[in-house]
């Protein structure tokens, strides 16, 4: 278990001011009203918080929060095992 999903949730509620009750793992970024500019900012904030760089194709408007979490978890695991 990692805290990745909690970090994502926190960025969405604090920076993007998305109400907590709108956020759930199966929702897509589009459903949360993130446009392309928002996605780019979202990716940058996650990169700063988690110290891994999100691949663009893993954070599109059709991506669900669960998928973003999974992608980031994979990257985080790699960055720990292959320093």
């Amino acid at each position: 278990m990692t805290d990745t999903y909690d970090v994502i949730r926190s960025v969405l509620t604090t920076t993007f001011r998305i109400p907590d009750d709108e956020i759930s793992p199966e929702r897509t970024l589009e459903q949360l009203e993130l446009d392309s500019l928002a996605l780019a900012e979202f990716a940058l904030i996650l990169q700063e918080r988690l110290e891994v760089r999100v691949d663009e194709e893993h954070a599109t408007r059709a991506t669900t929060l669960a998928q973003v979490t999974e992608h980031l978890d994979t990257l985080r695991a790699q960055s720990v095992t292959t320093p």
Binding site: R17, I18, L37, A38, E41, L44, Q47, E48
Partner: protein, 409 residues
């Protein structure tokens, strides 16, 4: 010069260092106490104080709502002031014909503090760490853009930049657009959130800022003998303008009328006022002529009054020369500091409130005008006065002179 048909001012919205809302700002300006204070952003700089809107970023974001993440501080201030002005005018954006609503908000600089932050990120961490918001944050027209989105105002949008006269230029343009039939409602004024480490240092290097670090609240003292520069500020002042007949048709009594506008250029120097004051005088005379007013009809002057040695001397000379009957004079920058591109909008709104409330706020930190200034400055406490006609002066780097003549309906 022909007399122009006045337009109605039906709504006001203010977010300033005096507070959130037109009422809070009016009370602060009438109280006559300077709002300048040490600014944590400016720590360690030769001038380390400013006049700030007393709302944190988080408080602003909460009020603005879900789109706040992409906005710079100036756009947030603009959205809040515009909402207040439109509500005050009794308009409902859900109901109006947005294609006929213009958004004209003057802005001198854009969010330069964020631009500097992104510049540091580029140099220290590389291109991948520059925010995709860098450009929208620094564009000076994004206050106008975000307000038009927020209000569904789909008519002409402009962000005139005439430095410290931008807000007044916006109001003059809005009047012309209404007169030309290019819009039916204009949401117009000025906005600025240009306080940054670099902008403050730049103004200081020009010799434009007060260095009264020991007592910041006393630093801005328009027309005082010992004035030593302006205090940088921020804010938004938005007015709703419409043709008087349209306001009457929907049963909305105007707060005041914008009766005349004069805009000229010194064609002399980028940052110094012209020594002969001809450009400023022509702007004042044009505004009066358009309003059908003689100089002696002017009861009150809401001065530009920046508290810089040069501006105040030139302006005092202008007022004494063209309006020798000694109308009352106030200068809100003593309380609010100099909000640059927003100042013309904020001060036009304050002039409207003077006309409405028959009350002239005092110039903060002033005992009496400097010797040699033949002015009737209101000092220490507000003065009760029947003001039927008033002028609001705005002058900007670039040699821009804008004078608005406002009258009671």
């Amino acid at each position: 010069m022909t007399v122009r048909t006045p337009v109605a001012i039906t709504g006001l919205g203010l977010v300033t260092p005096g507070g959130e809302g037109a009422e809070a700002t009016w009370e602060a300006v009438c109280a006559g106490t300077g709002t300048a204070a040490p600014d944590p952003l400016l720590t360690g700089l030769p001038v380390d104080f400013s006049c700030r809107v007393p709302l944190s970023e988080e408080e602003l974001d909460r009020r603005v709502g879900r789109r706040s993440w992409r906005m710079g501080r100036s756009a947030k201030l603009a959205v809040l002031a515009a909402r207040e002005a439109v509500r005050d005018a009794g308009h409902r954006p859900a109901d109006w014909d947005g294609a006929r609503v213009a958004t004209i908000l003057g802005c001198g600089m854009g969010c330069v503090d964020k631009w500097e932050e992104q510049g540091r990120r580029l140099e220290e961490r590389g291109p991948d760490f520059v925010s995709p918001l860098a450009i929208p944050l620094v564009l000076p027209n994004l206050g106008t853009g975000e307000v038009s989105i927020d209000l569904g105002a789909r008519g002409i949008g402009l962000a005139p930049a005439t430095a410290c006269a931008s807000g007044a230029t916006a109001l003059a343009l809005a009047r012309d657009l209404l007169a030309a039939g290019l819009c039916d409602v204009a949401v117009a004024g000025g906005v600025e959130a240009g306080v940054s480490r670099l902008s403050t240092t730049g103004f200081w290097r020009m010799g434009a800022l007060s260095e009264r670090r020991a007592a910041p609240a006393e630093a801005s003292r328009p027309f005082a003998a010992d004035r030593d520069g302006f205090v940088v500020g921020e804010g938004a002042g938005v007015l709703v303008l419409e043709r008087a007949a349209d306001a009457a048709a929907r049963g909305k009594p105007p707060r005041a009328l914008l009766a005349g506008c004069g805009s000229t250029s010194d064609a002399h120097h980028p940052t110094a006022p012209s020594p002969d004051g001809r450009g400023a005088e022509a702007a004042l005379r044009t505004a009066l002529a358009e309003a059908g007013l003689a100089p002696h009809d002017v009861d009150h002057v809401n001065a530009h009054g920046t508290s810089t040695p040069l501006n105040d001397a030139a302006e005092a000379d202008l007022i004494a020369r063209v309006l020798p009957h000694r109308p009352s004079v106030t200068a809100a920058k003593g309380v609010l500091g100099h909000s640059l591109g927003a100042a013309g909008g904020i001060e036009a709104a304050l002039t409207v409130l003077t006309l409405q409330h028959r009350r002239v706020p005092p110039v903060a930190n002033l005992e009496a005008p400097a010797p040699g200034f033949d002015l009737d400055c209101v000092v220490k406490q507000p003065r009760r006065q029947e003001v039927r006609a008033a002028v609001s002066h705005s002058f900007g780097f670039g040699g821009h002179n804008v004078v608005l003549a406002l009258t009671r309906p």
